[in-house]
Amino acid sequence: MDYEAIVVGGGHAGIEAALALARLGRRTLMVTQDIDAVGRMSCNPSVGGLSKGNLVREVDALGGQMGLLIDASMIQYRVLNRSRGPAVQAPRAQADKALYSGFARQALESQSSLELFMDTVVDIMLDSSGRRIEGIVTERGNRIGCRALVLTTGTFMEARLFIGEWSAPGGRLGEPAALGLGDALRRRGFRVGRFKTGTPARVKGSSLDYCEMERQDGEAQEPFSFLHEKIARPSLPCWITYTTAETHRVIRAGLGRSPLYGGAIKGKGPRYCPSIEDKVMRFPDRERHQVFVEPEGEYTDEMYLNGLSSSLPEDIQAALIHSIPGLNHAVIVRPAYAVEYDYLDPSLLYASLESKIAGGLFVAGQTNGSSGYEEAAAQGLVAGINADRFLTGEEALVLSRSEAYIGVLVDDLVTLGIDEPYRMFTSRAERRLALRQDTADTRLTPLAKSIGLATRERIERFEGKAAGIAEIKELMKGRRISRDDFLAMDGLINHLGESVHNVLRDPALRNCLVTLLPGLGTRFPHGWIETAELDARYEGYREKEARIAGRLERSERLRIPTDFDYLAMAGLSSEAAQKLSSTRPLTLGQAARIPGVRRSDAALLMIALSRRGTA
């Protein structure tokens, strides 16, 4: 055996998988087509955002790399949704792309037990049973053995680029596709599908009219990583502008030359991140669409046109960009393009992200049909951890839906299957209030410690913070409202004798902490106080949320034996029986969420299972 583990791909999933495996002591090889391209951000120059920011913090709390990389490379920081409630607030940072990629490379290269190798994988090797991974075959004929393999091929597998009538193989503009692997997996019986995604044009910053656009500055920077106290990075502005009636006219006129509308692209694109031509066609009533102009880095003049992803021909792209205020004289540096690529049906994976077809094969990131750097990183980390556990024979790490967005992500992918690129949303989580971004460490760092991915520094910082928050809560519980407080704030009169901890549950008194316990700020870091305060404020809501989720939980947790014979079960619709047989859900909850499984199928299954349970 040449290596214990091989990771194919050096993107956001591959980085996490390779680092996790190597940090856990596995002799690991990362095979990538281009070592200069590891950690490259193919699309938007930012990390985080709603629910994605939570994912980044969870990856960090579990001992992953993404939080450290964005902390080291951010060039603007904002917290989104401040007005809409703490559970759905999330941090987002603009990244210096070159710096991000550079720090990623540094992390990989300095990691002991990890080697990097430049080659293109064209096939996998299985043992004589055909059910267990033995290694990889590369384009140049190298056969490299391993016991565990993590596939993170991103948008490169059998990939094809599209710009108007032009089309050519490629995984990213200027980078070759990984040809051969997708077809090899098809031949081996994997279910391979096609998805499409796109990216907007990049323009020369000095060619833009900034006075025509609205300036959007960042806020005071906060770290993503729980290992960092504060961040001192430059902060660059973004700019907001809007499409015009002329833009929409140009797009409609050019639609006939779109590969998407002309039918050249077969793969389905992300509904939640549509191209500008999709937005114009799907919302004909909208007079304008928002465009964010974002810097790609500190030492480049390239600007990213967020909101203008497209696969229209280059002359139409130029016309539509030039019809937008502020961009009238924009010099296009790179055109927008679409990429179509192979993904593997994730319902053929266990919740460990191990393949049901080949033992020891783990799949993560866009190869599973997800979209987004954060979704990829989260899966990469899970795949890396579970590849290690596969090698040691330990039970796989499966996070629950009420424990982490990572749990929601993996459960959705492997049980729902997908028919479009999967993006995380807070509404996918039934226990959203329990998954606040500021509590990711409380939820996951103890796990990281037991897995072996938490450094001593991380453990010490976490334990210090946990003790501090406990102390703040004690102070909040010990401080009671007296008559002397009535004058300080309206509404306290209703809470005579209650603790501050209780009073915080009153929405009208959400800001009472500073008034009632003014000394906290000098004793504890701001973030600790905020976490303790939110815990108190949301305690009642969290209980309510748990109760609502619990309504379904009893049946949710009803376990289905893996050898359950759906085809022999009378009354199940044949579609449901087939879907259930191929997906093999572990619980009734998973079964009920599978598309094609009807309410009545779930009811029947529930009764069959509870009978089995009591028999």
Partner: protein, 462 residues
Amino acid sequence: MQRSYFDASRPIAALATVPGESALAVIRCAGPGAVDLVAGLFSRPAALGSARSMSLVHGELVDPSDGAAVDEILAAVFLSPDGPIGEDGVELYCHGSPAVIRKALSLLEGAGFAPALPGEFTFRAFLHGKTDLVKAEAVQELVRAGSEGARVEALRRLEGGLSRALASVREAIVDVLAEVEARLDYAEDDDSPAGGLDPDSLQRIRDRVALLAASYVSGRLYERGARAIVAGRPNAGKSSLFNLLVREDRSIVATDPGTTRDWIETAIELGGLPVRLVDTAGLREAEGEIEAEGVSRSRRLVEESEAVIYVVDGCGGLSAADVAFLESRPDSLCVWNKVDAPSCAEAPAGFLRTSAATGEGLSALAEALRERIRPRFGLDESALSRSVAEGDIRIASERQKRLLDEAVAALDSCRGELDARAPLDALILDLREAADSLGEITGEIASKEVLEAVFSRFCLGK
């Protein structure tokens, strides 16, 4: 071994009509292989086995052990997913002789059919998406319906009126939920819809759910009938009036004695409203220890009644006891009886003049009684006619009522949080809870406990 309550893997059979002597009896058979199993007991097995779905086959039911014909029957064949249950099945129309039915059922059992448990057919219809829980409950009510009004109500639910009303209000909640979720899932600066939850649309939804919840009382009245008690001093003519009122309803089929021999209760129908008329003739005033119990029972009956007809003997005039009673129950319908008698005094104001002997004033009394109980059904005259003609909707089970109340409470709580300016991510919990409660009514969200509770209360063969 006791067969599991809901084992859908076995074919089942049961008599679907009332047991006993009748012109026609229907035996329902359904489940895997049902058609072939019945064909084995049929004089023309090939004809039955190859029958198209939803067709009738004529032949004889045959005892396979000796080839003897049991009865001449019609067999209606349903192939999945057709028919009321959605499984392969046969309905046998045979002659309603208890001996034939007994023999037919024993032959079916011998052929492999398990005797159906109460509600099992409806349960299977639910499993196959042929019905939802509300409709299933309506089947129960239809079977038990005590009046034309109750029957119409149940039928309407079976047709899905209530399900549609619930689905429509639930959809309104889900729409609001979706809008709020969209706001939560896209950043403020992302061009997402601005603003918070609209209190007015929330209130409108809440009122619609509350209206459905409030229909429970009247729905129950339709099922049970409003209780109207005939009270008065001894010899005021209560029983005669009672009998005349009962005769006002020409459709009356049976008089059923009360749960004790002390009073008589009869179900009548007044202009579409079900009424349980109670005669307390058996209850006498307290003269000794033994009678006291009867009096307290009488008082309880009066308290529990939706209407009281208080009869006074016009010849005897108003006594202190009468005045005391009427003060305690001022909403009584006051009746001045025996107006045909020469010695009858002038009726005081507010009294209805009646004569049990001549029938005078009876129609007026019946009409007045109907007017008195009508508000209890939540109806004005036009609403009643509209509900009968078009299908106004009422809920009728405890389960539905409880879940609707939960939904109203959740929506009220949402309004409270909104007024207290709680954040959007907290508000949305109440909306989800309301949507879940409504979903549970129709079975969109159903636990095993709910399913068993609903289906185990069925009578056989439905």
